[in-house]
């Protein structure tokens, strides 16, 4: 469940980033580790080629956004560190 939450939040942040270049630093400042873990994970993989046929427009947007992610230097973000923080954040959210 947590992995799915992280993936969904990451996709949402990536799509936001496609139109708002400051979406990622805003997430950093908000300590939104769930979205950041998701976007770092998506960026580290290829967008699934099957999406190109199912949702071509979304596929193009995500590919472009991932390129932009790297051009802006976000390869520095550590997906493992972020995942640990995201899981802690999700667990904390479920407790409260």
């Amino acid at each position: 469940m947590s992995d799915r939450e992280i993936k969904a939040a990451g996709e949402a942040l990536l799509l936001k980033f496609a139109t708002d270049p400051l979406a990622i630093p805003r997430a950093i400042k908000a300590k939104d580790f769930v979205s950041l873990a998701g976007i770092a994970d998506i960026a580290s993989r290829e967008v699934s080629p099957s999406m190109a046929l199912l949702h071509p427009a979304r596929f193009r947007v995500m590919r472009r956004a991932i390129s932009d992610y790297y051009v802006r230097g976000y390869a520095l973000l550590d997906k493992d560190v972020l995942k640990r923080r995201a899981l802690a954040q999700i667990a904390k959210g479920k407790q409260s």
Partner: protein, 208 residues
């Protein structure tokens, strides 16, 4: 009407026009402008950053007012505008005040902390320099708005900086901004790997 924005290519064109303007009357003098902020980020090679102004740090520049006026006119830039026009690019000469940077020794061309300025562009008479990248990044962490955070991530990636480098630069800033910049570094420390963040590797991450 949307405001004009400077990207890297456009910025280099501005410097070329400023340089030509210095040459135009045959009485050219060598001028050195120390840029910081977005202009420095653009000249480091950012393809995505844009700005409307060129900020110049007077204390580390070697300029005279006549030449400045001539350069601004030649490049069709407003010089130190008191009111901003949305459709006009401008040159802002900044001294100690709202913005604070570490001390700079013109004689030795060294910033507090012992690092020299970096030359980013050279023309016939005009040279564009910037503080060391760690100082540019440290200055951005004083405010740490989303745009600043994006710039610092880019500078770190492009220049191979680590958080301890930026911390060392922050230590050379005046006291009142030093604390704020250090506190703001936490935003980045929380998302970077331990070899960049300078923090010991954590097993289980306690959230701050």
């Amino acid at each position: 009407m949307s405001s004009p924005r400077i990207d890297r290519k456009f910025l280099e064109g501005i410097f070329t026009r400023m340089d030509d303007a210095l040459d135009a009357d045959g009485a050219s003098t060598k001028q050195t402008l120390c840029v910081f902020g977005a202009s420095a980020v653009l000249l480091y090679g950012s393809d995505t950053r844009q700005t409307q102004d060129v900020d110049v740090w007077r204390n580390a520049s070697d300029i005279n007012d006549r030449a400045l006026a001539r350069m601004a006119k030649g490049a069709q830039l407003d010089l130190n505008p008191t009111e901003l026009e949305v459709d006009k690019l401008y040159l802002q000469i900044v001294t100690d005040g709202v913005v604070q940077l570490p001390l700079f020794s013109k004689d030795r061309n060294l910033w507090a902390g012992g690092k020299p300025s970096e030359t980013l562009w050279t023309g016939k008479n005009l040279t564009i320099i910037a503080p060391p990248p760690a100082v540019v990044a440290a200055a951005k962490m004083v405010r740490a708005e989303p745009q600043d955070i994006e710039d610092v991530v880019f500078i770190m990636a492009k220049k191979g900086l680590k958080i301890p480098d930026i911390k060392a630069a922050i230590a050379t800033f005046p006291g009142e901004v030093r604390e704020r910049a250090s506190e703001n570094l936490v935003y980045l420390q929380l998302v970077l790997p331990s070899d960049l963040s300078g923090k010991a590797k954590e097993k289980d991450v306690p959230e701050r």
